[in-house]
Homo-oligomer: 328 residues x 2
């Protein structure tokens, strides 16, 4: 029952490091003493075998720590790794439709590894193929962190057997919600609020994925696919908030709303009545409203990004895989 379980981390940025730290903090408490992070692969830090728990300090001290690798080496390293589970935490690429992450994930599954990813690209663009690989190789694919970080989103449906989702609507991008909130609360213009978001590290130097609604649209696709609807990224109607003027919405509060039901899916600035709780979701928080046949409306509000907030998602997936593999 407690045979050793090895985890390979691919991509050791904020998410990978956050997970590494959180994992070591709680592994004994969670009865995971048989689980270890056995290997790390990262373009910047190289290929690190049996990383010591204090490796984060070495990284902060700027020490080069692993064997140097090239991008092309990664699939081979994944394939040859003796890990049981791979965590994939590399960057999102929309232009390449989720590559190279999809290659990493499919290579891992084919070589017998369960996989965890926080990367929206491969899940939004390759959902069917990943599910097919999962079945064929009898390996689990988990991706909680792709929607609302560790805040329960689609996985809350595991607590609601027998319930059916009629639609969902939510605030799935924290950066744009931060920008809109600052425009309302402090009277900033769009550009001033965007600059503030960049200064605080909530927005990238190139903020287009966020402000043009692309990030939220990827999440609409992922939620839809989990629920069982077949929306593809290309069919999501997307309008962002670039240069938005909130004054034209009058007494209502405009939010960048992501919506889908079985028939349609969109992301667009939507005026909300002040009696709607969603209108009061501020800062860079995320929110998801699920309309269910048994419960009516259920609303979850929480963080959608962050070092430990996303690490929680990975830990949730890891524990789920270990429990499922044990009982299955």
């Amino acid at each position: 029952m407690n045979k050793p379980i090895r985890v390979l981390i691919v991509g050791f940025g904020v998410v990978g490091q956050g997970f590494f730290e959180l994992f070591h903090r709680v592994k004994d408490e969670l009865g995971l003493s048989n689980v270890s992070i056995s290997e790390i692969v990262d373009l910047k830090y190289g290929h690190i075998k049996d990383p010591r728990p204090n490796i984060i300090e070495d990284i902060r001290a700027g020490k080069a720590i692993g064997e140097k690798i090239m991008s092309d080496d990664i699939p081979r390293i994944i394939e040859e790794s003796n890990a049981d589970i791979m965590g994939e935490f590399t960057w999102v690429s929309v232009k390449t439709r989720g590559e190279p992450a999809f290659t990493y994930l499919s290579t891992a599954i084919r070589s017998g590894k369960h996989v965890i990813t926080t990367n929206k690209g491969p899940i939004a663009f390759h959902y069917d193929e990943l599910m097919e690989l999962s079945r064929r190789y009898n390996r689990l694919v988990r991706f909680k962190g792709t929607v609302m970080a560790g805040t329960p989103s689609f996985n809350i449906l595991k607590l609601l057997p027998g319930a059916h989702v009629e639609y969902f609507m939510g605030i799935l991008n924290g950066t744009t919600n931060f920008i809109l909130s600052k425009m309302y609360e402090e009277g900033l213009s769009f550009n001033e609020a965007l600059k503030l978001a960049q200064q605080l590290g909530y927005a990238e130097a190139d903020p287009s994925l966020d402000i043009d609604g692309i990030d939220a649209a990827l999440k609409v696709v992922i939620l839809s696919r989990v629920i069982g609807w077949r929306h593809a990224f290309e069919n999501v109607e997307v309008e962002g908030i670039r240069d938005i003027d909130i004054r034209k919405y009058g007494d209502k509060v405009v939010k960048l709303i992501a919506y889908a039901d079985r028939d349609k899916a969109y992301v667009k600035p939507t005026p909300l009545d002040k009696s709607d709780v969603l209108a009061h979701v501020s800062r860079n928080l995320n929110a998801l409203r699920l309309k269910l046949d048994t419960l009516g409306e259920l609303l979850i509000i929480g963080p959608g990004a962050g070092r430990f907030e996303t690490a929680q998602a990975v830990l949730t997936d890891l524990v789920d895989i270990i429990n499922s593999a044990r009982s299955g």
Copy 2:
């Protein structure tokens, strides 16, 4: 793997009937064709063996359907039943500290049955004894429906391994939230709003459990015990909303807030700033904010009562017991 699983229902009021209906609606979809409701015991409808799926129609038509029983017969019927799982859905009694429900639950566990209850009394007053019985007889005790009906509340922590609750605060009683909302939205007095709640069936003829904060205090105890804190009902500081005058809270919005951390626990009318999302939770909705070390603040808003809303909780517990018993 698919051996027959029999369920005994004790108490066939709104919750018992709602669960009966929901169960038959989704059992095939959930792969529960081996599960059956084999027996019902209710003071009004008697002792019914192998109830037909359309028994609700007989009840609505006013047909006497079961073998007549007395209250004292129930423990013996539970003990002699060959059911694998008992669902206990009788009335809450604070004066008797959760009896007779606690006797029903302990009798069921001692005679080898897993148990589900939506009854706050036995869980709030007999938590330790039920957990001890659960261990000794290796039977599961589930009680999701005691806090926020089917809306995920304490069970959301199953999705958050490694997270620790620093405090919780919430709106755990729908009746008082309905009354306060109507006072704000329509300028009603406390007594007018209470009367409206009674007309709509949200409040009992004797509304004291709700408006004096007792119902919310029981839920504070249950949440606390699940989290691992040892608050007892007697130590929860309780102030209700009887004859409340909302004008004295000025610009703030007063809500009946239930709060606990490791050191203290209370239920009391609490003025909230309008920037707090909780201030905007209206109607008879419930809400629970959990402060977690990994995620920060997580907020869940949903129904806290109702026929199918509570039936969802029972179904969630039933599926959880079946899955746990299978893998354990």
